[in-house]
């Protein structure tokens, strides 16, 4: 089909030029017009190469002879001069079409190589930007198949799978290492494949190695950090466990010592110390438990539909009398949230505890809740010294007490646990840096659909 079309087009080109010469014949010497046939030969040579250009050259000269050179309408020539002219034209046509075809071939070749080079550049930047080689393979295989002229392709790393006919497969080998296989729907030019695939294989090999090294580095870093955390925990725990224990022991020995002359008020004070310090120990132990669950990823949330109000009620009840300082303003239209109630309650308790701890007992701690862009946004604001000078990135790390805020009591576990539980439930927790005085922590929880009550 394609060949027939080309032959017809070639003949048409010869016919057109013949017609043009016929038109020009009255105004120019006929021998000089023969050169016009090059306009038929050149495009054919450029487009389809010598196999078409040569017959077109011969056909042109035959047409010239038949139509224009005397005796007309024969292939005979009356004049030997005409023989020479015809021979020169033919030789010119052949040489020119040969040159045109060659330059065309070079151009095509150059385009091909440029395409291959840009393919490799694209592949290498895709692999560099992506964290996972596997995610990029589909796109890369598609591009490679396209450049190789196959309809579809897929790359399988470390694969030895035999191709399912009519699929063909090409090993991707970098140096002596087999990286994987490229499977193509059709057979492709082995020469181009042989030029392109080693480069592709090397790029893939480098990317696979880089990913593996990155993973190892991350594991090492995680280990190092968890070691550092453990050391920090041990140090802080031994300090934080010892101080309440010391107070309890001193108080009990004081109470039990018959040699001491204690008034009823003194005794009550010692008993209150024992009670307070035991509670402190208890809360430290629960915090450590929460933290260790978060660290090992065992804090799997069990979500249910809750209201912020309901969870806040539990949080305030758990905080007891100190929470009387908390002033609560919740919007009327707060949607429910779908979270683990105990964990988000813990987040609220820790945020409020933190705010209460770092602000004067005469100042209020303000908690507000509003609905914004599909989230329930809870802000806890205290009028304490604020977070100026605090490294906000480290604020949520365990045993970070917010710079000078370290003067207060507590292990610095609260915010780390709050952030851990918030994130486990799809919520976000951050410090609002826009407040000029005091500190404001913001908890943003995705809203859940509200119930539609069926009326009985």
């Amino acid at each position: 089909m394609k060949t027939a079309l080309r032959i017809l087009s070639s003949l048409a080109a010869v016919a057109i030029v013949t017609a043009v010469i016929y038109a020009l014949e009255p105004i120019a010497p006929i021998l000089s017009l023969g050169v016009l046939y090059l306009f038929a030969v050149m495009p054919v040579a450029v487009l389809w190469g010598l196999p078409y250009a040569l017959p077109v050259s011969v056909a042109s000269m035959l047409a010239f002879n038949w139509f224009f050179l005397p005796p007309r309408h024969t292939f005979e020539l009356s004049d030997s001069e005409n023989w020479v002219a015809l021979a020169v034209y033919l030789a010119t046509a052949v040489v020119v079409s040969g040159l045109a075809a060659r330059s065309r071939r070079r151009e095509v070749e150059a385009e091909r190589r440029a395409e291959e080079a840009s393919l490799l550049a694209e592949v290498s930047s895709a692999l560099l930007e992506s964290a996972h080689v596997q995610d990029e393979l589909r796109a890369i295989a598609g591009r490679v198949a396209h450049v190789l002229g196959a309809e579809r392709g897929r790359i399988e790393l470390d694969s030895l799978r035999r191709p399912d006919p009519p699929e063909s497969s090409y090993d991707l080998v970098a140096g002596s290492r087999a990286v994987g296989r490229l499977y193509l729907k059709d057979e492709v030019d082995a020469q181009i494949a042989g030029r392109l695939l080693p480069g592709l294989a090397s790029l893939l090999a480098v990317a696979v190695d880089r990913e593996r090294l990155g993973r190892r580095a991350l594991e090492a870093e995680t280990l190092r950090r968890s070691d550092a955390t453990k050391t920090a925990i041990l140090r802080a725990v031994s300090h934080d466990l010892r101080s309440p224990l010391t107070a309890i022991r001193a108080a009990t020995e004081g109470l039990g010592n018959p040699g001491l002359d204690l008034t009823a008020t003194d005794q009550a004070a010692l008993l209150a110390t024992i009670e307070d310090e035991s509670k402190r120990l208890d809360s430290l132990v629960s915090n450590l438990l929460d933290l260790s669950r978060l660290e090992v990823g065992a804090a799997e949330p069990r979500p249910e539909f809750w209201t912020v109000e309901g969870l806040l009620g539990q949080a305030l009840a758990e905080l007891g009398p100190p929470a009387d300082r908390v002033s609560v303003v919740l919007a009327d239209d707060l949607p429910p949230i779908y979270v683990d109630g105990a964990q988000i309650e813990r987040v609220l308790v820790n945020l409020l505890e933190n705010a209460l701890k770092f602000s004067s007992s005469t100042d209020p701690v303000e908690l507000s809740g509003e609905s914004r862009e599909g989230d329930v946004v809870v802000r806890v604001f205290d009028r304490g010294p604020g977070l100026g000078g605090v490294n906000l990135e480290r604020l949520f790390e365990p045993f970070e007490r917010g710079g000078d805020r370290a003067a207060g009591r507590g292990t610095g576990l609260g915010l780390a646990i709050a952030k851990g539980f918030a994130e486990a439930n799809g919520a976000r927790l951050w410090a609002d840096q826009a407040v000029s005085e005091g500190a404001c922590l913001v908890l943003s929880i995705p809203a859940a659909p509200a119930p539609v009550e069926s009326r009985a």
């Binding site: 209201t307 609560v328 539609v452 009985a456």
Partner: protein, 228 residues
């Protein structure tokens, strides 16, 4: 003849010692057991008026002991649990335990729970229940607060009614779902906590600081009389 004893079951001797001393001081007779088997034997020999039961015992779980006790005695069972045993705690409550306290607990709290559990043993529902300024008319399905009618949806009334007839008593989520929505839970039963919040908005002065309808984290809810 002395009053029936309180049976305390825990495998840690310090806790047994502390509880025994405190309960005696509060005027109760006390027997103690360190294992589940021992507890069941003691209870069958001398039926206790209440059982204080640790969830984790060396030979069997507190949940099993609770279930077995419920087979033949109505004596209230108070669970001792620690943070991290929420699942077992709820299982024990669903198996018939009446209430729980979380270790480490205050003695006052334990005694209050014990008194409340003992008081509830002979409770009968009356047609009109008064709790603080709330007046719940079960027959007419009407609720008044300080004489003013409170408008409740059918679900909200069903919830309040269940809480009111079980005043002071811990109701687990499962029990509330079963009694309000029936065994074939409807989709809206997932919204239990949301309905409780809505109910609070109607009966509490400050719904973020409830006085009547208290949450027992991880276990259930309890309606109390704030003035008692």
């Amino acid at each position: 003849m002395t009053a029936p004893p309180i049976l305390v079951v825990d495998d840690e001797p310090q806790i047994l010692r502390a509880l025994e001393t405190t309960l005696r001081g509060a005027g109760y007779t006390v027997t103690t057991a360190a294992t589940g088997e021992e507890a069941l034997t003691l209870a069958s020999v001398r039926p206790p008026q209440a059982v204080i039961l640790d969830l984790v015992l060396p030979d069997r779980s507190g949940v099993e002991v609770c279930r077995e006790l419920r087979g033949w005695t109505e004596a209230p069972v108070l669970i001792l649990s620690v943070v991290g045993e929420e699942r077992e705690k709820v299982a024990a409550l669903d198996a018939g335990a009446d209430d729980y306290v979380t270790k480490p607990f205050g003695v006052d709290e334990l005694l209050a729970r014990l008194r409340a559990a003992l008081r509830r043993v002979s409770d009968t529902a009356e047609p009109v229940i008064r709790i603080g300024e709330l007046e719940i008319d079960l027959d007419k399905a009407a609720v008044r607060q300080n004489g003013e009618l409170v408008r409740l949806t059918p679900n909200e009334f069903a919830l309040l009614r269940l809480f009111a007839v079980n005043e002071g008593r811990l109701l687990t989520h499962r029990r509330i779902l079963r009694e309000v929505w029936g065994l074939a839970y409807q989709a809206e039963s997932h919204y239990l906590h949301v309905y409780v919040s809505q109910l609070r908005r109607k009966i509490e002065r400050d719904s973020a600081r409830p006085r009547f309808l208290l949450t027992e984290p991880g276990a259930g809810y309890r309606l109390v009389d704030p003035e008692s």
